[in-house]
C-alpha cells in the first residue's frame, strides 16, 4: 500500500516537471513535437530507474553519517555526506553513458528514437533533483526507491508529452508576435503547473 502511495504521489502531487519545475531546459527545448518529446520522456524514465537505486545504495552504505559502519565499527564516526553532489553526478554521468551503450547494443530501434537524448540527460536536473529529493525524504527500502523512481519518471513523461500536444495545437492559433514561441510556452507551462496544483492535498 505504501508503495502505491509513493508511486501516485510522485506522479501527480510531486510531479518533477510541473510541481518542482525540474528539467525545464530540455522540457521546453524538446517539446516542439510529439515524437521527440516521447523519446526524451522514455529516456528519463529509463535513467531514473537505474540511477536512483544506485544512488540510494551509495548514500545508505557509503555517504550518510555513520554509513561505513558495515566495514568496521571504527568507521562509525565518518561522515562523507559532503561528497554527495560529486558522487551523485558521477553516477548519473556514468550510468547515462552505460545505458546508452547497452541500448545501442541490444535494442537498436529504441536507440534510434532516443538517439541524442540520452547524453543530454546527464545534465538534466530532473535526474539529480530526484536523487537529492530521495536523499532528503529518507526512503527506507529499495522497493520504495523503485516506486519513487518509476513514479517520478512517468510523471515527467506525462508532463512533457502533454506539453508537446498543446504546443502542436498552438501552431494554429493567432498569438501576438512577441509572445510567439518561447513566451507563450512559458505561460502554458505555468498554467499547467497551476492545474497540477489541484492534486495537492490529495491523499492516496
Amino acid at each position: 500500500m505504501e508503495l502505491i502511495n509513493i508511486f501516485f504521489k510522485s506522479v501527480f502531487v510531486d510531479n518533477l516537471a510541473l510541481a518542482f519545475f525540474l528539467g525545464m531546459c530540455s522540457f521546453i527545448a524538446v517539446s516542439k513535437n510529439m515524437q521527440t518529446a516521447r523519446g526524451l520522456g522514455l529516456a528519463v524514465i529509463l535513467v531514473l530507474l537505474v540511477t536512483l537505486p544506485l544512488n540510494w545504495v551509495l548514500d545508505r552504505y557509503v555517504l550518510a553519517p555513520g554509513a561505513l559502519k558495515w566495514i568496521s565499527p571504527a568507521l562509525a564516526g565518518v561522515d562523507l555526506s559532503f561528497l554527495t553532489f560529486i558522487v551523485f553526478v558521477a553516477v548519473i554521468a556514468a550510468v547515462t553513458q552505460v545505458v546508452e551503450m547497452v541500448v545501442e547494443r541490444f535494442v537498436p530501434s529504441l536507440h534510434l528514437s532516443l538517439g541524442i537524448f540520452l547524453p543530454l540527460i546527464a545534465v538534466n536536473c530532473a535526474i539529480l533533483g530526484a536523487s537529492l529529493f530521495m536523499q532528503e525524504r529518507a526512503y527506507t527500502g529499495l522497493g520504495e526507491v523503485l516506486a519513487y523512481a518509476l513514479g517520478s519518471g512517468l510523471g515527467w513523461f506525462l508532463a512533457i508529452v502533454s506539453l508537446a500536444a498543446i504546443r502542436e495545437r498552438l501552431r494554429y492559433s493567432d498569438i501576438p508576435k512577441g509572445l510567439r514561441g518561447l513566451g507563450i510556452t512559458f505561460i502554458v507551462v505555468g498554467l499547467m503547473g497551476l492545474a497540477f496544483m489541484g492534486f495537492m492535498g490529495i491523499k492516496f
Partner: protein, 206 residues
Amino acid sequence: MNFKETIRKSVLGSNPVTVLVLGICSALAVTVHMKEALIMGLAVTLVSALSNLVISLMRKTIPSRIRIIVELLVISFFVILADQLLKAYAYPESKTLSVYVGLIITNCIIMGRLESCALSHKPAEALADGFLNGIGYALVLIVVAFFREFFGCGTLFGVQIIPQGWYFANGGFYENNGLFILPPMALILIGCIVWLQRTFDKDLQE
C-alpha cells in the same frame, strides 16, 4: 569588440534565461523572496566565472571524449565550495534553497558556457564571459523575485513596503495576492519578460 558592447550582448542580447532558455529550473524555485534570489544569483555567478576560468586554463589538456565528465567534476567542486560557504555563513538561507544549490551543477548555463566559450577562449575572456552570464541570470532572478515578493508578501528583502493599515485584517482594503507565491507564477512572469523583450528586440522574434 569593445567592453560595453560585450556587456550589453551577454546580459541582454543573449541573456541565458530569456533568450537561450538555459537554467530555468532554479530560476523558478528560488524567486519567492529577493534575498534568496540574490544569494542564488551570486552563487551561480561565482561558480560560472570560476569554473569557466579553470576549464579554460585546462582546455589544451582535456581529451575531448571525456570533457563532459571533467567539466562536471570542476563544476561540482565549485558548487560544493559554494554550498559549504552558504552553510557556514547563511545557514537559514541555505536551508530554504535546499536542493537547488546542488542543482547548480546541472544548471545548463554553466555547462553551456563551458562548452561554447571556455573550451575555445583564453582564461581572461572565459572568466569575463562566465561572470557576465551569471550576472544576466541573476538579473532575471531579481526582477522576477521583485514582483513575486512585492505582490505576494507586500515586502522587499523582508522589509514591509505596503503599510500594515492597508490590509483587510487591519480594517483596510488590501490583500496579498497568494498566486504570486506559487511557482507557476514565476513561469508566467518569465513568459511576460520574454514577451516584453521580444516586442522591443525584433531580431529575437520567431
